[in-house]
C-alpha cells in the first residue's frame, strides 16, 4: 500500500483530503506544519509527500528541498492556492481547487518517475 503524507495547515482541507485518499486506497499520514512533517518523515516510511507551499509561517518549498536532500526516495507533489510564483518550482504542482482524481493521477505519475 502506498503511504502518503499530507502536509496542510488548514485543518478542514487536511482532514477531508485524508479521508478521500484513504478511500482511494492510500495509507494516509497528516501533518499541519513542516516541523511536524519532518518528524513523521524521520520516523515512518513514506512513499509520497503532498504538501501545501504555504504552511502558515513555514514554507512548503523549503520542506520539499529538505526532503529531496535527505530522503530522495520520497516523491514530492506540491499544492498551492496562489496562481503566481510557481514557474521555478521543480516538483509537480496542483493548483487549488483540485479534484482528488487529479491529485491521484499526479501522485501516481510522481511515483512512477521516482521508480524510474
Amino acid at each position: 500500500m502506498t503511504t502518503i503524507l499530507i502536509v496542510e495547515d488548514e485543518q478542514g482541507i487536511r482532514e477531508t483530503q485524508a479521508a478521500l485518499f484513504e478511500m482511494e486506497g492510500f495509507e494516509v499520514l497528516t501533518a499541519e506544519s513542516a516541523t511536524d512533517a519532518l518528524k513523521i518523515i524521520g520516523a515512518k516510511l513514506i512513499d509520497v509527500m503532498l504538501s501545501d507551499i504555504r504552511l502558515g509561517s513555514e514554507s512548503g518549498l523549503e520542506l520539499a528541498y529538505m526532503v529531496q536532500e535527505n530522503r530522495p526516495e520520497i516523491a514530492v507533489v506540491l499544492m498551492t492556492g496562489y496562481s503566481s510564483q510557481n514557474k521555478e518550482i521543480r516538483w509537480p504542482l496542483l493548483m487549488k481547487p483540485f479534484l482528488c482524481e487529479e491529485a491521484v493521477e499526479i501522485i501516481n505519475r510522481a511515483l512512477a518517475l521516482r521508480g524510474s
Binding site: E10, I13, T16, A19, L20, G81, Y82, K96, P97, F98
Partner: protein
C-alpha cells in the same frame, strides 16, 4: 529697465519654486498611489488565495460526501440483495416446514391412538396376565 528684469527674475524664481513644490506634491501623490496599489494587489492576492482555499475545502467535502453516499448506496443495495435472498430462502422453506408440521401432527395423532389402543389392550389382557403369573408362581 533693471527693475523690470529684477521683477521678472523674481517672478520666474517664484514660478520655478511653485513648479518644484507641485512636482514634489505630484511625486508624493504618485508614491502614495503606488503604495495603495501594492497594498490592494497584496489584499487581492490574499483574498484570491483564501477563495481558492475555501473552494478546495468545498470541493474536497463535496467529493467526500459523494464518495460516502456511493458507499452507503452500495451497502444498502447489498443489504437489499441479502434481504431478498433471505426472503427467497424463507419462501423455499415454507413447503418443507408445512410438510414437517403435518407430519408432526400425524405423529401426535398416531401416538395418541397407539396409547389409547395400548391402554385398551393392557386393560383387556392385564387380568389374564395377572392370573397367568399367579398360577405360574403358585404351581411352583
Amino acid at each position: 529697465m533693471p527693475d523690470d528684469v529684477g521683477s521678472l527674475r523674481q517672478q520666474i524664481g517664484e514660478t520655478l519654486g511653485t513648479v518644484r513644490s507641485l512636482a514634489e506634491a505630484v511625486k508624493e501623490i504618485k508614491q502614495d498611489a503606488e503604495r495603495r496599489e501594492d497594498r490592494l494587489t497584496s489584499e487581492i492576492r490574499t483574498m484570491k488565495h483564501e477563495q481558492r482555499q475555501s473552494d478546495q475545502l468545498m470541493t474536497s467535502k463535496m467529493e467526500l460526501l459523494t464518495a460516502q453516499f456511493r458507499e452507503l448506496d452500495s451497502k444498502s443495495r447489498n443489504i437489499t440483495e441479502e434481504l431478498a435472498l433471505v426472503k427467497r430462502s424463507v419462501a423455499e422453506m415454507e413447503v418443507p416446514v408445512k410438510k414437517i408440521k403435518a407430519l408432526h401432527e400425524r405423529i401426535v395423532v398416531y401416538a395418541l391412538a397407539l396409547t389409547s389402543v395400548g391402554g385398551a389392550i393392557w386393560w383387556l389382557i392385564s387380568p389374564f396376565l395377572t392370573d397367568l403369573i399367579h398360577r405360574m408362581f403358585s404351581s411352583k
